[in-house]
Amino acid sequence: MSPIGKTIPGDLVSRVFRNPYAVSSFSLMDWDKLVRQARRSGLLARLRTVLVQHRQLDVVPAEARWHFDAAATLADKQQIAVRWEIGKIAEALSDLTFPLIVLKGGAYVVAGLPSATGRLFNDIDILVPRELLGPVEAALMLAGWHPGGLSDYDQRYYRRWMHEIPPMQHVKRATVIDVHHAILPDTARYHPDSVKLRSRAVPIDDTKKVHVLAPEDMVLHSATHLFHDGELPHGLRDLTDIDLLFRHFATIPGFWNRLQARAEELDLSRPLFHALRYVQHFLDTPIPEDFAHAMAHASPNRTTQSLLDAVFLRALAPDHISCADAYTPLARKAAFIRAHWLRMPPHLLFPHLFHKAFFQARYDEQTT
């Protein structure tokens, strides 16, 4: 792998993930920065878990300690709530005869994976067969979830071009579900086959109501989501998810070979390559050498790679003023445009960005 270039200085969160013992030499001002960066990245509770695992929690000064504890309180409660909510979704969809597949955070929780620990949630993502989107949406609406307040343009945009329908929010509990029929839009550069993904989903218990993606597919989806999604407010959190998945699945015999084969099969070797590169950089994730070597073919050319490094080293760092350099705003914008570029061909992308730039502001003002 080509060398990755300089790290953006000041990123304390990934530094502590790489080496939890570093906190023993932290000044009070370092703790001030760490708490702020971790809060912005949604990683306060997960950092606490890491500090507990390395017996460093007692090192945290009293001033900073409650921030970690309070975030853990919230994360613990969210785990229970997410489980319960997924039960409600399964109940709402029980008349439809297809396996309900939970994606991302919700999947980590129901499957009891380490990547669930200390994770905070904004929504629950599910994957359903495209031909059943109509009945699924109707069933969820009957159970109290309704499409949120989007403009007509956004509604049309989602339904015509996206791999998910507009987010649905529960009228009483305000929980949000993202219903996906694929992991990338039809218009995207890569075309992972959703039928293939669904075919290898695994049930999480004997009732076989709720499923999660197979281990390789779960990693591939997380990587695809991270490197093809427009905004990266929780980029580092999503990267730590992938790190924890790698560390956990590495113990399953044959995992790395299956991962490589599956990436080829689903046309997702490139996002997997990016994930490998940046988890190693930010989090020192142990990756078998022969696997890394075998994945090298998926690397972009050297110029593109150095450009991507310049973007992702900044865009994946905590979105906080204390670890931004002069190029960070540009890098975040570039990551946003790149993701859209990969999701839509130019004849769709330019009109879309044009609309967003000139009409969205007006809509936002009207609705306030």
């Binding site: 000064p61 921030h67 409660k77 906080h320 306030t368």
Partner: protein
């Protein structure tokens, strides 16, 4: 060092630069602002609070209150509240800069400080026992809180009752008391000791101003209190002053619904809430005259077996 020991010009300079580090109750804040009204509000209302060099001290909340853009400083000027770079609210007119800071601080605390069960209620203390005053807006909760703290009760908090989940005790947070509409002249008339800052008009809550917390309450801001009463005040014109016992179960339900983070605490929220209710006497309270209301509260405090300050 207390904020009042800082000269106004040096306070303004710090606010506009690295920020001012300020302790209020159990929380430390770093406040940044270039707006003269924010500096004025802090000088008038937070004089007794501890300040430090913001470059050396850990701060729980880093907040900023400023105009969103150059244009908005001149054309229909507006202000934004920023929580460490995040903007949780829509901008407000410049006239509301100071109340926006107070509302923003309430938000910062209630969204993050889950080591407490946080109830939307005023809370005051006498003889070591705290009276919690939960009530819907418009019930005269803040007026009554202001009246009581101007009559010898200790201000624990005007909006946020913090119940320590470990000890069950109430943690003081004696920030300025927010007064609305008619309560502003009413409190001015009630006590010549009251200092109330300049009012902001046409806010979501009408006209709003803040009353400086009593010096003694600020001095004792690290001294928690035991819950003694939960009292639901209701101001009603020409009514007599009446105190009626109410059901503990109902009171618990109301507190749970009016807690900012009851559901986030899960089973522990229930445990903390029920322990509170078991210790407290619960009443409905109707009044029309503030001095009579204070007298009724004093009788309640004097009748209670004197509790040792916790």
């Amino acid at each position: 060092m207390k904020l009042l020991q800082l000269s106004p010009s040096s306070l303004r300079k710090h606010l506009a630069g690295q920020g001012v580090w300020l302790r209020t109750g159990p929380f430390s804040l770093r406040i940044q602002s270039r707006l003269p009204r924010v500096a004025e509000g802090l000088i008038e209302l937070y004089g007794q609070f501890e300040v430090r060099d913001s470059n050396l001290a850990f701060a729980d909340f880093h907040v900023e209150i400023n105009s969103p853009s150059m244009l908005r400083r001149w054309f229909r000027p507006q202000v934004n509240f920023s929580f460490d770079g995040d903007l949780p609210f829509k901008p407000l007119p410049l006239d509301q800069a100071y109340p926006m800071l107070e509302w923003g601080l309430n938000w910062s605390i209630s969204m993050h400080a889950h080591q407490y069960l946080i109830i939307h209620a005023g809370v005051v203390e006498k003889n070591g026992l705290a009276a919690i005053l939960p009530a819907p807006p418009g019930s005269g909760k803040s007026t009554l809180t202001a009246g009581l703290v101007l009559s010898g009760w200790r201000l624990l908090s005007d909006e946020l009752t913090l119940i320590d989940r470990k000890t069950g005790l109430i943690q003081p947070l004696p920030r300025p008391v927010s007064l609305k509409n008619e309560s502003i002249p009413l409190i001015r008339d009630f006590s010549p000791d009251a200092f109330i800052n300049r009012a902001s008009h046409d806010t979501a809550k009408g006209t709003v101003a803040h009353m400086r917390p009593p010096k003694e309450s600020v001095r004792r801001q690290h001294e928690p209190a035991r819950p003694g009463w939960v009292i639901f005040p209701k101001w009603s014109a020409d009514s007599s002053t009446t105190l009626t016992p109410r059901s503990k179960a109902q009171t618990f339900m109301f507190l749970a619904q009016n807690a900012f983070n009851y559901s986030q605490l899960g089973a522990d929220g229930f445990r903390v809430g029920t322990r509170l209710i078991e210790q407290a006497e619960c009443y409905d309270f109707q009044y029309s005259q503030l001095d009579q209301a204070v007298a009724a509260f004093d009788r309640l405090a004097n009748a209670a077996p004197a509790a040792k300050a916790a």
